[in-house]
Symmetry: C2
Subunit: 272 residues, 2 copies
């Protein structure tokens, strides 16, 4: 079967209006950024009277309980778990029908892009947002499936290497939100510095200012055994070298790529 | 003069209701987390008709233009800059009086805390939220001061090592938001794994499951010169070793500390 590269349709919520050339609507790209970001930021409106939206840091993962064989390029739900105030949980319980409207954001910095002028400075980065409706998961089977999904997103195979199954108290104290996705988008910037034409032709400036990229990536240190640990570091905990290499490679390769629209910065900025 | 350790007063917006023992209201702690996080997540309500709040990733920094000698323990504004849709800029221009209500969040993961049961798993982390009112900075002097503040937050001393001053086109295309802070809070988790008493007394479990912390920290790679770079790496760009050591040390030390409420997990959870 031919695979389609699905995209979220553009609407008033997800359409990127500035630096459009960096916008991505591909489900694969958006879902991959969400799934590889250790902390998601989830925003909701706590009450019609409150002037402020609230942001909670939560752990989350894309998945489909009803269609578990779907991959990252398919329509998926976002499952959320976090040590959070119960406000969001109560609100999503009260909201009848669709659920509580939320915005979910995931952002990674891949490099500091240092240019000739302060204004052209940038990050290499990957950033996703999703808009959707959150509902509490009440089916115990779906809940335990999501708990396993989220635990294994922090460290692959961790779930089956712990005490299972969760007991009744653990099941009732754990709350999982399933967010049905309405739309989403991503922005990705990779590549070398990209200055304005007039600055690149300024010989004096070129002889004075260092331009380039400092790669940035998440690094995992040597595992530190806890006070009641008795066993040696098992295979599934020995992931750091592989992860560190992967992360460093991405940031380094992003730093050396051609800039997305070399020499076209001015035009792109006019998108707004 | 005696320095006071100022705190944001608790109100309906910033009070932490879950895991209260990890809550911090100290201005120094909250502002430090904001200032050392490379991407802030800023949420606002785009219009009364829209069901979804919006989150934008932005670069920001705490500071006081009117009282530049204030330090991180003092009341400060949050200055924001980002390659963003102009929606937030337009909204903050339209909102008369106080400005556009926003929530600003900054989160860092410092370690994966691996425990005996999935439910006790955690991150070591530092997380701040601020609530406030955003207004566009119109005074050119304040704007250029904030541009310097934000540029140097990405890389110390970068501002004075680039082509200055910004020209008229750069000044008009750059928009800076000043967020007047209403309240804020932080949550900090550091320390060793912390399981339930019954699990820690389970001999079979202790002989099977590895428990401990995998430290996580942001790492900076070797600077990659851009295609039109002509100069050797200057002193102010050679920061990675110092930063990497500092970041690694924090994550490693956090991994080895006593858990915040060892043996009291159950009680703390009851805070909700």
């Amino acid at each position: 079967m031919v695979r389609h590269n699905l995209e979220y349709p553009k609407d008033i919520h997800n359409t990127v209006n500035r630096y459009k050339h960096q916008a991505v609507y591909s489900l694969t790209t958006i879902h991959t950024i969400i799934n590889t970001t250790p902390v998601l930021h989830v925003s909701f409106t706590p009450s019609p009277e409150s002037p402020f939206p609230v942001i909670l840091p939560m752990i989350g993962q894309m998945g489909s309980f009803s269609h578990p064989s779907r991959d990252l390029g398919d329509p998926l739900d976002c499952y959320l778990h976090g040590y959070v105030s119960s406000r969001i949980m109560n609100l999503s319980r009260q909201e009848g029908g669709k659920g509580l409207p939320v915005c979910i954001a995931a952002s990674k910095v891949d490099g500091l892009v240092l240019t000739l002028t302060p204004n052209s400075h940038n990050y290499n980065y990957r950033s996703s947002v999703l808009f959707g409706y959150a509902q509490l998961v009440s089916d115990p089977e779906e809940k335990i499936w999501a708990m396993e999904l989220i635990t294994n997103s922090v460290l692959p195979n961790r779930w089956s290497n712990t005490r299972l199954p969760p007991n009744a108290a653990e099941m009732s104290s754990t709350q999982i939100l399933r967010v049905s996705i309405h739309s989403g988008s991503a922005k990705v910037r990779e590549g070398v510095p990209n200055d304005e034409k007039a600055d690149i032709e300024n010989e004096e400036l070129l002889n004075e200012v260092w331009t380039g990229v400092i790669p940035v990536y998440e690094n995992f240190g040597k595992p530190v055994p806890g006070p009641y640990n008795r066993v040696s570091v098992p295979e599934h905990v020995r992931v750091r070298e592989e992860w560190n290499e992967r992360n460093e490679r991405y940031a380094r390769e992003a730093a050396g790529k051609d800039a997305p629209v070399a020499g076209k910065k001015k035009e792109a900025e006019g998108d707004d």
